[in-house]
Amino acid sequence: MSRRGVGLGAFANRTQATQSYATHGANLRSTHLSSLQTQLSVFQSLLHTFALEHSSTIKSNPTFRAEFARMCNTIGVDPLAASNVKGKNSRRGLGEGGSFWTQIMGGDMNDFYFEVAVRVVELCRETRAENGGLIGVEECRNRVGKGKAIGSGLEVSEDDILRAVRSLEPLASGFSIVRVGSKQYIRSIPKELNTDQATVLEAIQVLGFVSVSMLRLNLTWEKARAQTVIDDLVADGLVWVDAQGPEKEYWSPQNLLDDSG
């Protein structure tokens, strides 16, 4: 048991102790920081090497590419956006504004996403009359994967499609990703879906088609509400009408895409 200081000297002692604690803490923090910085830069350079080493796989294998992109995201590197990975890694002198992909892979990767984006835009424009400017990401992937001309198929993952659509954002393209139920869609017309419309589209996903009476039964909507939502969807070209049953049925044109080209 140490003798507890009494008298004025104790104050001086305590100040001293606090000071040395603070210094020690600062020391510790800076060591930590520098070691973390070292770790991060080591990791970044490893990532760099890894990306270079596996660049061909990254380019050709969609799953691998998605995983790699996910990994980059986790450590806060957005591969598409102009990247903060400068300094040590930007030895290549590819300019300040180059993205991570550009820096590590010489521009090929950006070109790849622009290529995908172009295909996506083309597809959306082509099918706008058919689907009212709403196209499933999955359908989109299939179509881009097939390509129109022989050998023009581009093997992509849904992640690539999403990334490509996002890369269009700076252009104020009006392309956005919307989620309806369990599915993601690309919306190529800047028009919001209201809650009721989204609900009906979700119901169509599950049931295949809907009718006014089905909506009334399942959602306990009033007739006028159900009819209005459906009329709006028809007016926007988002659903097609089948009038040959006992009651009008409304179908989503999403499955048409398969290979109607």
């Binding site: 706008r128 009359a129 058919e130 009212g132 088609f209 028809v234 007016a235 926007d236 070209g237 097609w240 009408v241 089948d242 009038a243 040959q244 049953g245 049925e249 409304y250 179908w251 044109p253 499955n255 048409l256 398969d258 290979d259 109607s260």
Partner: protein, 192 residues
């Protein structure tokens, strides 16, 4: 009308609303385009040059038995009508042409139409290319030989509708590529 391979229907064919004229004009346009390419593909597959609506309305083309959906006569006529118009008129690029009574059609107007899965001008190119590639410039052939002869078996225009062949040949005459002579029904053609 009989071919060994069944006609491969596009996925649209199994989409029930495909058989109901769509109220939304954009959707309708897309629908008409799909019908037009389906009808052209069907006729091409069956080597059919003219389509009689009354006869075709009960064939699988317009009647999907599995779905129990069909395009009715009026709707089918609308599709063909659209096909006959040029793109400038908001139509389907003149991919069809109605026959009236004077051109060998039915007395009822808009009941039989040529379906141009190749337009006569395109056929003219095909025939001209064939003549060129087989070194027959300067040769003389009868129209019968051209359509039914052994030399053309491998060609797309083999077994072609006679009237369509005459339309085609008349285009080639206008282009100054051939000359037609002889009586009606036994014309001969000289290629330049």
């Amino acid at each position: 009308m009989t071919t060994t391979t069944p006609f491969p229907f596009p996925p649209t064919y199994n989409f029930p609303p495909f058989f109901t004229p769509q109220p939304n004009s954009n959707t309708r346009l897309s629908q008409l385009e799909k019908w037009s390419s389906l009808i052209q593909a069907w006729c091409r597959h069956h080597r059919q040059y003219r389509l009689s609506l009354v006869d075709a309305i009960d064939t699988p083309l317009f009647h999907n038995v599995q779905l129990r959906k069909r395009l009715d006569l009026a709707a089918a006529r609308d599709v063909l009508d659209w096909m006959t118009k040029s793109e400038e008129e908001g139509g389907g690029g003149r991919r069809a042409e109605w026959l009236d009574a004077s051109t060998g059609g039915n007395a009822v107007p808009k009941s039989v139409a040529y379906v141009w899965w190749r337009r006569p001008e395109e056929w003219a190119d095909v025939v001209a290319d064939w003549v060129e590639n087989t070194g027959q410039r300067g040769a003389v052939l009868t129209v019968y030989e051209l359509v039914q002869g052994e030399a053309t078996v491998s060609q797309d225009f083999h077994g072609m509708d006679n009237d369509v062949m005459m339309k085609t040949l008349n285009i080639l005459v206008k282009r100054g590529k051939i000359q037609i002579f002889g009586n009606e029904g036994e014309e001969g053609v000289k290629f330049f």
